[in-house]
Every structure is written in structure tokens, then in C-alpha cells.
């Protein structure tokens, strides 16, 4: 009799433990990322404990992407979706409307972030001046990225409590790595006298990054990116560069060389390219590599511009 009682007691103790363990093991989330950085961040947070997927193919431009029927099917299979929420992944909205996925947990990375207003600078022939909107490029930065990574880790931890500590730990380790990159770049920038430099960007997507580097951007010469400038717009861009007496112009990686050459011929300012961190193969290291390249290119641009003076 004693044996039976002790067997029952042991079983009673084991069953809840087994249930807990299986619940933890069952927490195999399928997480979708709307943009490249979110894919990298989530991969670094969850490791191999969750399946991380993307919404659009590697070479696609999130600004112009048109969802396909297969994308909706893919969305239906997600447990969690990480979005920008500030207008950088507008293609997600019609997809969400078209599907009836009530259990989908959406993590809006833009929520709670301090945002930089982008006072949309239109061309002279365009109307709607002084309309205030917020800069959606919160992911092209280190400090902002860390805040978003921590938020994602916390939210994922709520969904998988058994893995919450691991998510937090991974997020902290990743944040440390990112901060080291920032610190190294800052140390190099310290040695450069940036006071004499006038820096401009083709659009204001790099505002968060330059702000945390303590670099003032004198002008944004073509605020809306991803557009093919017309002759008139290019002329306007050149006029803006001349007016702002710009030494360095940061363009995007895919900014056509012919425009770069024309701008250089007309203004003489040095032109460098920065990554928009939203194109290329999806990988765990994508964000670190893209941001390291951006930091290196900024340091190189500042160094060359000051030594050439």
C-alpha cells in the first residue's frame, strides 16, 4: 500500500514538471520580420529556439514591394510579426487586412521610441511644405537599435516565459557588441576636427546614426529616397549642396554613379555611400556587418575630408 501511495505521489510530482517542460519545448515560435535588421536582431535574440522568417525576398525593396498571394499564406503561418510601424514597411498593412490571423502577435518596434521629426523638405515646385512627420529609419542606428532589441526580447519573453531569461541574456550580449562598435567609431571621430566640415545626406534616413555620433548634418538634399531624380530635381539637389557649402555628401549604396559624377563635377564635394540596411541576403550578422561598414565609411569620409583641406 505504501508503495502505491508513494508511486502516486511521485507521479503527481512528475506530471506537472513534464507538462512545464513540454510547454517550454513547445514554444517554437515562427517569427516574421518585415525588414532586414529585424531578422538579424531576432536571430540574435532567439538563436535556434524559434524559426525566424522574412516577409519579402532578399533583393526586394520594402518601399515598393507588392504582396503576392503566397505571402498571405506565409503570414498566416506566423506566430509573431516584427514591424517598423512608422511607415517603412507599408506593404504589411494590406497583408494584415487581407488575412484574418487573430492570433498573430505584432511587435511594433517604433512604439515607445524617441523619434526624430522629419520636416519634409519638398522641392520648390512641390506643395505641402512644413508638414511634420517622423523619421522611420529608427533601425539605422546603434542606440535606437538596442532599445528596440530589448523591447523585442521582452515581448518574446512574455510569449515564451520559459525562454525569457535566455532572450534577455542574448539581447544584452548583442547590445554590448553593438555598443562596442559605436564606441570604437566615436573614438576615431574624436580625433577628427569636424567643426570645419559641412555634411549633407541625400535623404534623412541617417539622422539617428549621425545624431548618436555627434555629427551635425547641414542639409538633406533629397529627402525622399528611392526615387529616380529628374533633371530638375538633380539641379535642385546641386543648388542645395552649393547653398549649404557641403564638403561631404552621403548617398545611398544604390544611388546611380551618373548622378554622383554630375554632383561631384558641379559642386566638388566628396561623395560616399552608406547602406540603408534593408537590402541583401538575410542573415544573423547582416545588421552588424552593414552598420560596421556604415561606421567605417563615415570615419573614412571625415578623415579624408579633413586631411585634404
Amino acid at each position: 500500500m505504501k508503495k502505491i501511495v508513494s508511486f502516486i505521489l511521485v507521479m503527481l510530482a512528475i506530471i506537472p514538471l513534464t507538462a512545464l517542460t513540454s510547454r517550454a519545448a513547445d514554444c517554437n515560435l515562427t517569427i516574421g520580420a518585415s525588414l532586414h535588421p529585424y531578422y538579424s536582431w531576432v536571430k540574435n535574440i532567439v538563436g535556434d529556439t524559434a524559426k525566424v522568417t522574412t516577409l519579402i525576398p532578399p533583393g526586394s525593396d520594402p518601399h515598393t514591394y507588392q504582396p503576392m498571394p503566397a505571402d498571405l499564406e506565409h503570414l498566416q503561418g506566423l506566430d509573431v510579426l516584427i514591424i517598423n510601424g512608422l511607415g517603412h514597411d507599408e506593404f504589411v498593412n494590406p497583408m494584415l487586412k487581407a488575412t484574418d490571423h487573430k492570433d498573430l502577435k505584432i511587435i511594433n518596434t517604433g512604439k515607445g521610441l524617441p523619434l526624430i521629426p522629419s520636416f519634409t523638405q519638398h522641392y520648390a515646385f512641390e506643395g505641402n511644405k512644413n508638414k511634420v512627420s517622423y523619421n522611420s529609419h529608427t533601425y539605422i542606428a546603434i542606440t535606437g537599435a538596442i532599445q528596440q532589441i530589448q523591447m523585442i526580447a521582452r515581448e518574446l519573453g512574455k510569449l515564451c516565459p520559459a525562454q525569457a531569461t535566455m532572450y534577455k541574456k542574448n539581447a544584452r550580449a548583442y547590445a554590448k557588441k553593438l555598443r562596442k562598435m559605436l564606441s570604437a567609431a566615436l573614438a576615431k571621430i574624436d580625433a577628427i576636427d569636424t567643426n570645419t566640415l559641412r555634411i549633407a545626406t541625400v535623404h534623412d534616413g541617417y539622422a539617428y546614426l549621425f545624431q548618436e555620433l555627434g555629427i551635425e548634418v547641414a542639409a538633406v538634399v533629397q529627402p525622399r529616397h528611392g526615387i529616380e531624380p529628374s533633371a530638375r530635381q538633380l539641379q535642385d539637389t546641386i543648388k542645395r549642396i552649393k547653398r549649404a557649402k557641403v564638403n561631404i555628401l552621403f548617398t545611398e549604396l544604390d544611388y546611380k554613379k551618373q548622378y554622383v559624377d554630375i554632383i561631384f563635377q558641379e559642386t566638388g564635394c566628396r561623395i560616399y555611400s552608406l547602406s540603408h540596411v534593408s537590402k541583401g541576403e538575410y542573415s544573423k550578422d547582416f545588421f552588424v556587418k552593414a552598420m560596421q561598414k556604415n561606421l567605417d565609411d563615415i570615419v573614412q569620409a571625415l578623415t579624408e575630408a579633413t586631411t585634404a583641406k
Binding site: 515607445g112 526624430i116 511634420v132 542606440t143 555598443r179 564606441s183 571621430i189 555627434g214
Partner: protein, 228 residues
């Protein structure tokens, strides 16, 4: 209606009164007005709301921070998660030395632009809350000469809402019972000592972001007690 007679045949002339064009025009005007009204209504729904209108007198939108203060503000916000984790791990609010050793800016100043490295930080804590008080040791010479002060003193305040001795105002638990910690960042343009009285009464401003819950819909969640 009029009749005309000819030698051969009799024609009956019928005048057809045109449809009421005035009514048509009126209907058109009403429809256009309705469309315009609907568009205006829709626009008002989607247009950005000026959060300044819903801010308390002791709050300041982060959009109005000057110079490199936005970077410091961003940095303080970024460290909140780490501080909460460290508190949960160690059972006490982490001190400045620990935050430095964890390479957390702004306490570890080498992660900040040179203009922000002059801030000196100290911790003031109770069981249920902590203040990380930072004051700019490298106040610009222009300010020393009497120019308008910029942002020179900051407090990162984190409140454990499960404790009983937490200060006010803060984001309450009423709206989100799952909320354990509430964090806030206060700013004073002057170089000041750590305030022992109410921050509000001492002229400090609580910085709120457009995207945070303490921003746009502040009235719904902020405690009405402005004292400490």
C-alpha cells in the same frame, strides 16, 4: 402650351418644361459638400496630432530638446531595460560603478559623443525607486558667461510599482496591471544639485516622446499627484 394653325395641317406645339436645374445644382453642391466633409473628417483622423496639447505643464516633448540632449535622452532610455534586468538579478538597484563596468552609456561615457562626456552621474535610491542623477560638469563657457542655459541636468527615474513608497507623478498600474516598472527622464536646463523636494516644484521637466504612452494620451494614465 400654345397652338398654331397652318393652312394644311394643324400642329400642336408642346413646350416641355426643363427639369428643375436649380434642384440639380443644389443636389450637386450638397454631394460635393458631403464629399469634402467626409475627406476633412478622414484627414482629421489620420493627420498627426500635436502632442503638446495633451502634455502636462511639467512635461516637455523630446522634440524640443536642443544640441546633443536628444542623444543623452535616447541613451538613458536605452539603458532602462538593462537596469531592470540587473536589479532583478542582484536584488538591488545597480550603482554607477556596476553600470560603467557593464559598458552602459551614458554612465560609461566613451559610448557617447565627446560633447556629452562631461556628465557626472550619481545614484539616489530607495527600495521602490531609483534616481540616476547626472549633471554636466563641462558647462559650455558661453553659458557661464550668462547665455541661456541648455540641458545640463538629467534624472533617470525608475519606479518599482509593486513597492509602496514610489514617488509621483508616474505612469500608473491602473491601466496595465502587468506593468512592474515605470521609467521616466527629467531634465533641468540649469546645473543644479540633486533635488530632495518635488521635481515639479523645482522646475524640472519630464521629457516625453511622441511614441511613448506618456506622450499623446498622457491624461489617461498619469497619476494626478504632482508631489513627490
Amino acid at each position: 402650351m400654345a397652338e398654331s394653325r397652318t393652312p394644311e395641317k394643324v400642329y400642336r406645339e408642346v413646350l416641355v418644361v426643363p427639369l428643375a436645374a436649380r434642384r440639380e445644382a443644389l443636389a450637386l453642391i450638397i454631394i460635393i459638400s458631403l464629399i469634402v466633409l467626409l475627406m476633412a473628417f478622414r484627414f482629421s483622423l489620420v493627420s498627426s496630432v500635436d502632442s503638446r496639447e495633451s502634455l502636462k505643464t511639467y512635461q516637455l516633448s523630446d522634440l524640443y530638446l536642443k544640441n546633443q540632449a536628444p542623444t543623452l535622452y535616447r541613451s538613458l532610455l536605452g539603458v532602462v531595460g538593462d537596469i531592470m534586468d540587473l536589479r532583478e538579478e542582484n536584488g538591488s538597484w545597480p550603482d554607477i560603478a556596476l553600470l560603467k563596468s557593464e559598458a552602459l552609456p551614458p554612465f560609461a561615457s566613451n559610448f557617447l559623443p565627446i560633447g556629452l562626456r562631461g556628465f557626472v552621474w550619481e545614484r539616489h535610491a530607495s527600495k521602490g525607486w531609483v534616481d540616476y542623477f547626472g549633471v554636466n560638469g563641462d558647462v559650455a563657457s558661453a553659458e557661464k558667461e550668462g547665455a541661456d542655459p541648455l540641458e545640463n541636468s538629467f534624472i533617470l527615474r525608475i519606479i518599482d510599482l509593486q513597492s509602496e513608497d514610489h514617488p509621483h507623478p508616474h505612469l500608473g498600474q491602473d491601466n496595465d496591471p502587468a506593468m512592474r516598472f515605470s521609467s521616466q527622464i527629467w531634465m533641468n536646463p540649469q546645473v543644479v544639485d540633486y533635488p530632495t523636494e518635488s521635481l515639479v516644484e523645482r522646475g524640472w521637466k519630464w521629457i516625453v516622446s511622441a511614441g511613448t504612452p506618456s506622450g499623446g494620451n498622457a491624461d489617461a494614465v498619469i497619476s494626478e499627484q504632482p508631489g513627490e
